[in-house]
């Protein structure tokens, strides 16, 4: 009896393994639609670290789920490994059976926890097969437990034993089908295989070594114009989509989704899955793009945008990275959004709203708003800021960015210059030689425009000698610090929050002596400073340094909600149920402080653009300037 159960298990194991391999081969053939990518096979070696460290960083933010997953997945993997040894290799060792029973118990527990969570599933979780997965895993775990237990107990179990054995095998077959067929049929357990491979061959492998939030250049000379069809993705990008567990963390974090704009990042990823699998996977059972049908019709061979994906979905994204930051599978939504936009912009020239006007302005004037470059520093005329001439030298080069054309933001710029001067910082500007950094062009998909501006700015900057660049604009900061290096522009760039923090720490800014307590306020993290560059502490330290208490919003720091400007969204302006800045103002209101500090010209404009009663919007530098002795 025990003989036959053991052999049945061996058979089942190999059957499963074969099915899985077959499924993987099928899936891999889908990934192969994508073009080649330079990946390192060493990634396979790095996989465990990436799994246990990098993913853990994300998952640990939800400890209960993390524990359930550790138990279920850890138990499951252990069962598979132990089964491979004990049954696959036909060792049939009693002590391995004991271990298997233990691991099966662990997995059972994990699957139970998951199932319990499914009873009150948050709406962000997909239903369908995902909803029944924990039960299937329980079956598998229970089957393993019973089978291994029976084997250990030996043949003396008699008739009852036989019945249990049959039941256990049935459970194993049913539950194991999830594991074995998942990858092949696009069922939930696809994520385990694809997820691990994704970790090994991640399209942004450098993110495991440190921050990586820069967009990658297109090789325009080689005719790269972004992604039109599935084939235009790299194969490992297609693989990355298959790692998605439809947990909806991205959906819950997405400001566009919350505003009722037609973008659900989870659905966006699933749309890509649908495109690459040509609709052969089970139907999507999660929330749709707001205001749209969930079902998609895949027409193989057609462009993604316009068939699987509506253009409005693409243009709703603010590139805020909240989705990326929250994705436990380390999927990079923003790359995909921008890659798709690149095609729409560069090949079709279909940029909605004021987006095309912004791009035309950039082409014609090197500014987003269509201003003459010569007027960028008009606000500084009475501040005696040196305008560098080629060959000149300065310690700090201030790049004011597009905010310099906005009269409201000029107040912040003046405050910044005032503070820097009071601190004895030697700062100069480029005057009419400063062009737009290219952020808007790039995020709107105009990679050619971006590259032109980046190269022009790099050439300009090469004519001057300066130690460091400082800018109050996180977009300028991000472009120069992270995206210009790909074009040979290596600069030390500081966001002004860091410089102010540095100066305050050194007590270089003469502050008022009076200790009257200042009213508390809340701080709105700019995406391009915070999530893009981990600049969470500097602005808070600045506020602390001038004696202001920060009452953080529910969504702050890493979880801060975008103001709605980024990625050119303020220009494309896709309608939704609400406006993102209005929601952000609600977040601010909840703190009860009535004042919000900002550290970005665009956040300033978006939040001040909120109509009706609203909190006072004050730039970091303005707050410091108010405290100047």
């Amino acid at each position: 009896m025990s003989f036959s159960l053991a052999h049945a298990l061996t058979g089942l194991f190999w059957l499963g393994a074969l099915l899985l391999l077959g499924g993987l081969a099928r899936r891999a053939s889908l990934w192969q639609q994508g073009h080649s990518a330079s990946v390192s096979w060493l990634g396979l070696l790095a996989m465990p670290k990436r799994y246990f460290v990098d993913i853990h960083h994300v998952v640990a933010r939800e400890p209960a789920v993390a524990r359930a997953h550790v138990a279920a997945a850890g138990g499951g993997v252990a069962i598979l490994l132990l089964s491979a040894l004990n049954y696959g290799l036909m060792l049939y060792q009693g002590w391995l059976d004991v271990l298997l029973v233990l691991m099966a118990a662990v997995m059972l527990l994990g699957a139970r926890m998951m199932q319990a969570r499914r009873l009150q599933a948050p709406p962000r979780l997909s239903q369908g097969r995902w909803q029944v997965l924990p039960a299937r895993l329980r079956l598998f775990a229970l089957g393993s437990l019973l089978a291994a237990g029976l084997l250990f107990a030996g043949p003396q179990m008699g008739m009852a034993g036989q019945l249990i054995a049959v039941a256990a095998l049935l459970m194993l077959a049913l539950g194991g089908a999830e594991l074995a067929l998942g990858i092949g049929l696009g069922w939930p357990m696809k994520h385990a295989v694809a997820g691990l491979l994704h970790l090994a061959f991640h399209p942004r492998a450098e993110r495991f070594a440190g921050k990586s939030s820069d967009l990658k250049p297109l090789n325009l000379a080689a005719g790269e114009l972004g992604v039109a069809k599935v084939e235009d993705f790299a194969w490992n990008r297609l693989l990355s989509f298959d790692a998605c567990v439809q947990c909806g963390k991205c959906e819950a974090a997405c400001p566009a989704y919350a505003a009722g704009q037609p973008l659900n990042p989870k659905k966006l990823i699933q749309d890509m899955v649908a495109a690459q699998s040509r609709g052969t996977d089970p139907a999507y059972a999660g929330n749709p793009h707001p205001g749209r049908e969930a079902a998609v019709v895949v027409k193989p061979g057609e462009d993604i945008v316009g068939s699987v994906l509506a253009a409005e979905t693409l243009w709703s994204c603010t590139t805020c990275r909240a989705c990326v930051e929250n994705c436990p599978m380390l999927i990079e939504h923003v790359d995909t959004v921008v890659n798709l936009r690149r095609h729409v912009t560069l090949s079709r020239g279909e940029v909605p709203g004021k987006g095309s006007e912004a791009l035309a302005n950039l082409r014609n004037t090197d500014t987003v708003g269509g201003y003459p470059l010569a007027v960028r520093y008009h606000w500084a005329i009475d501040l005696d800021l040196p305008v560098l001439q080629p060959g000149d030298q300065t310690e700090w080069l201030l790049l004011a960015g597009e905010g310099a054309f906005d009269m409201r933001y000029q107040r912040a710029l003046r405050a910044l210059v005032k503070v820097l001067k009071a601190a004895g910082v030697k700062v100069a500007v480029l005057g009419a030689a400063e062009r737009d950094c290219g952020d808007v062009a790039r995020r709107l998909g105009d990679e050619a425009g971006f590259q032109r501006l980046a190269k022009a700015n790099i050439a300009t900057l090469a004519q001057y000698r300066f130690d460091r660049i400082v800018t109050p604009d996180p977009h300028v900061f991000h472009c120069l610090a992270n995206e210009y290096p790909a074009f040979g522009g290596q600069f030390e760039v500081w966001h002004h929050s860091k410089l102010l923090e540095h100066l305050l720490a050194r007590r270089a800014i003469p502050l008022k002596a009076d200790a009257t307590p200042l009213p508390p306020l809340t701080f709105h993290d700019p995406c391009y400073l915070g999530r893009y560059n981990d600049g969470f502490n500097a602005p808070r330290n600045v506020l602390k340094g001038i004696g202001i208490k920060v009452v953080d919003m529910q969504r702050s720091g890493r979880d801060a909600r975008c103001c709605g400007w980024g990625g050119g969204a303020a220009f494309t302006d896709i309608p939704g149920q609400r406006r993102i800045p209005d929601m952000r103002m609600d977040d601010i209101r909840e703190t009860g402080t009535g004042r919000v500090a900002v550290a970005c010209p665009n956040c300033t404009a978006m939040l001040e653009g909120v109509v009706g009663e609203r909190a006072d919007v004050i730039e970091l530098a303005e707050l410091v300037a108010e405290r100047l002795a």
Binding site: Y371, D382, F405, R408, R411
Partner: protein
Amino acid sequence: MRYPHLFAPITLNKLTLRNRVVSTAHAEVYAEPGGLPGDRYIRYYEEKAKGGLGLAICGGSSPVSIDSPQSWWKSVNLATDAIIDPLARLAEAMHRHGAKIMIQATHMGRRSSYYGEHWPHLVSPSGIREPVHRGNAKVIEQHEIRRIIADFAQAARRVKAAGMDGIEISAAHQHLIDQFWSPRTNFRTDEWGGSFENRLRFGVEVLNAVRAEVGPDFCVGLRMCGDEFHEDGLSHDMLKDIAAAMSETGLIDYLSVVGSGADTHNTLANCMPPMALPPEPFVHLAAGIKSVSKVPVMHAQSIRDPVQAERILASGMVDMVGMTRAHIADPHLVIKIRDGKEDQIRQCVGANYCIDRQYHGQDVLCIQNAATSREATMPHDIAKADKLRKVVVVGAGPAGLEAARVARERGHEVVLFEKQPQVGGQIVLAAKAPQREQMAGIVRWLDMETQRLGVDRRLGVAADKAMILAEKPDIVVLATGGIPYTSQVPDWGVEEGVAVSSWDILSGKVEPGKNVLVYDAVSTQAGFGVADFLSSRGSTVEIVTPDVKVGDDTGGTTFPIFYRRLYAQGIIPTPNFWLDKVYAEGDKKIAVLRNEYTEALEERAVDQVVIENGILPNDSLYWDMKELSKNQGQTDVHTLFASQPQPSLSQPLAAGEFLLFRVGDCISMHNIHGAIYDALRLVKDF
């Protein structure tokens, strides 16, 4: 980008201005004895610099020579080296806030009064008398011309030595240089008169001497007229030729252009266009000059709001906008534009209280902004109080509105009662007069500010003692204004309805009669206003006053506007008569007039007699509450006049105790400035 043209810097010679907004030269009448700017003067300008303007040109008509009098109108005296230090202090103060500062230098020639100080003999190219200032003058001689040219150079040296940013030479408003230009005043046949070149010679030599003194890099401007509006004066075409020739010399860095001559009462009124004139009435003259000028052109004349200024600049008519009275009314104008607070600008309404005072040799004050030129004691930005109180203000005329505004700015809880359904008090009536509509602008700002600041306004509520006490106030400010003082002479018969008050007419309570006699016993704007109101509605109007002329107590730029209308509409002016009695006879009213000088009686049979006799304080609430108040309703005048807090404010108030004050006409009849100043100086310390 808002206001791209307004905020575009401009460079004049080596001088870069941060924006295009200029406070052009005006005689401030603030200089200390000897014609030296003191603390008041410097603070007045520093406030504008803080307020963000690009350039201020101070010292309107500052004389360069000792025979161009300055003392009777407390002008800046450029004829002495003692001016260098004070100007240096001024320049330093302006530069601290990023503004530039120049000064206007001139010799007024005949355009002054000879009496006073040195009793000089005024000089003019042909010794023609100037009527407005009764400026009798002698024919200027060669060596006097040479001396004055040298004086200009010396003045320029002082200005440069003080670290000022430039000097503007005045050839406008009929000063000595344009007295040489103008065919009205120059009949010489020597090298200083006759041909075009000869008439320009004096001005060119002045500029040559100035340029030689200051060098090529110092900003030198020239102010000139764009049309004298006299048959025998400089026409626009002549002035275009002059402008072209002057810009051709290469001696000047900009031209500032104004419309209108200034040597008669009627032309003078155009120079500071009063509210009766349309916005920027003479910008076309500046644009004409710009069409021939090689240097940038500046223009000031009723450019009062930012959108207007931006439009004028954008249209390319001029390069710089003077917003001079606009800055007298609100020195923080530019910052408010910059910060998107246009709605908070206290906009000049062209009431010309400022210039009308100047023409009487009185210090320039703004009708609506009592802090202007009182920067040492009166705040433009009102700080929060340490101790917060409950303030009840009764009456929403200018005094009450200002009291409520200031108290609220201080942070107090403020309730404002007004029995009318709208705010504004007597100004609402004043604005009913034809061409006086803009008086309502004074109310508009106070109305908007009290709303913006969150004053609890109870309009249409006639507050009584009980209602006020029910608010549990710490301080009560009564600003209940007055009622028409028609009861002064019972024989006028207002009580009986034989005559009516000017308020009855302006408010629409009484229909205008066909044939109306307006009796104006006070000669302010009100009397003429009601006469004009009636005449504009078809009444035949005679205006009678015991004063020497109709509208005698209105200023030099105000009465000419009245007179234009008076003569155009056939209003009959009858000065020097008292109104003794009015009685009814049939369907007519008989007005008995008595000549001030002959005692002769005259009678008029009319359909309606309208009385303007100022107001009687409306103080019944005061007498109701005086005894109840802790300070017995008394304002301590020593501390008030010293701009100090009232002593009673520092005493603790027990429950139910309150302080009582009054401001404005409910004490005795003042003008709008008086009402607003009363409120500001008292309430700023609450």
